[in-house]
Assembly symmetry: C2
Homo-oligomer: 277 residues x 2
């Protein structure tokens, strides 16, 4: 993107696994730089555990890579300054500087889609924790459900989009999607209402715990589930309110940026590099 | 204290409530400054909700004050630069720079005494959240117990020193202290062992949630309960381990500083003021 944050080139490709995925990332970056003559810096957002400070992607369950020094690799390949970080933190940066969390010194940006994680800003500082901070999707909410991470009762195991669809299907025998469950909730269909209420309770448990620790002024819900809008935010705000006493109340809102949040955030990181040089 | 962190003067007095407490703090600071000729700066640590960035004590349930601008009041009274912050964060600063969390860029310092709270350092930054960050004592752990804060099931309501003693007394009819319960645990007394195991589970629930969000490399347990040493740390480390999967494992240890942690930390804050001037 350019300095006005307008997209100047786009390359999409499927994600292979392991070493092939690393090669695909490097090739994609190379292609984008070639398509954008005069490119001055690179910002890269990746999933999994990644240390934004060192630019090393430590681990991704889904992609299957380990300890990939992306910053060094891309610098070598392009000769440009490179910022590398977590996709969710990139999205958080976009929401914090230009989107729904703008103006807040303390915020939580929580995309809820296939996975769940949080970009956590405290005192204006985006928390990295060597790549381990903000993993709210793998906080136990006490549910009796196995999680892909190997744990039990993680928020993601019961409140991600696929988890909501799976729980509805288990209850009714009808295969569906989280969007369809939300539509049924709006119509008052009892099974959907019950699944939704449980989901809200689990999200409330985790977000209240995060509020107690991180004191966000605003919680921004993103990802596919944010399409439910007030159907989600209304009961969720009530649920969180019921769990707090003297704590500061976070405002709940939906994300401004949809799928492109990570791109915008990584672009902002790249611009930061140019400003600090 | 002097620049070598040696204590040069001490004043102790009982804590009155409300406005009288504010006057007592100001008088005490005045006395200390008078006893230490050449005093260059003041560091003050207070309980409750306090914004270390503005130096305003917003609220304390126990003391009963509200929105006291301590930094401004003390500056006016002494003419010295003043740092004001939370007692638990002051203790955290002492442990982080000179004590059990030294060398860690991510840490949680958790005094467990009459109350429970955490000083949370992420990426080397001590989290303030306008004074609301780190209130782990008032995170719900799902216990069926009312809390002084008005909530139900807060960690503090079941795992503080008085709460442990109360739970043991309720079970056995015998009034006691948390230290005495720990001594009975060491002897294998079944009721004490049961109360302790429950306590460990609740502490593990809250500390695992904090680990998922804040990614501490080390968790420092302070306060009265830390006197139990390995009797607490051993099972607590096992409990937390059982709740984590891909997350970074925190090392558990006890605090270096006991009662004086807050004083040392506030002194370090005062020294910081002199260095940045």
């Amino acid at each position: 993107m350019d300095r006005g944050l307008e997209r100047t080139a786009t390359v999409r490709r499927p994600t292979p696994r392991g070493d092939a995925a690393v090669a695909a990332v490097l090739d994609t970056v190379g292609e984008l730089v070639a398509q954008a003559p005069g490119a001055e810096a690179v910002g890269l957002a990746v999933p999994g555990i990644v240390d934004d400070e060192t630019g090393v992607a430590a681990w991704s369950e889904n992609i299957g890579w380990r300890d990939v020094p992306f910053r060094a690799l891309i610098q070598e390949r392009t000769g440009l300054p490179v910022a590398v970080g977590h996709d969710v933190r990139a999205g958080g940066t976009a929401e914090q500087r230009l989107g729904a969390a703008r103006g807040a010194r303390n915020s939580l940006v929580v995309p809820i889609g296939t996975g769940i994680a949080a970009a956590m800003v405290i005192d204006g500082h985006l928390c990295v924790g060597s790549g381990y901070a903000g993993e709210i999707g793998h906080m136990s909410v006490g549910a009796d459900e196995p999680c892909v991470c190997g744990g039990t009762g993680c928020l993601e195991a019961v409140a991600s989009g696929p988890a909501i669809a799976r729980r509805y299907a288990r209850r009714t025998g009808r295969e569906t999607t989280a969007d369809a469950v939300a539509a049924l909730v709006a119509e008052g269909e009892p099974d959907a209402v019950a699944v939704w209420a449980e989901t809200v309770g689990w999200l409330g448990t985790a977000l209240a715990a995060a509020t107690v620790l991180a004191a966000p002024e605003v919680i921004v819900i993103g990802g596919g589930l944010s399409r439910a809008g007030d159907l989600l935010l209304g009961p969720l705000a009530d649920d969180i309110e019921g769990r707090l006493t003297f704590h500061r109340r976070p405002r709940l809102t939906t994300a401004r940026f949809a799928d492109e949040a990570g791109c915008v955030g990584a672009g902002l990181w790249a611009l930061d590099l140019l400003e600090t040089q």
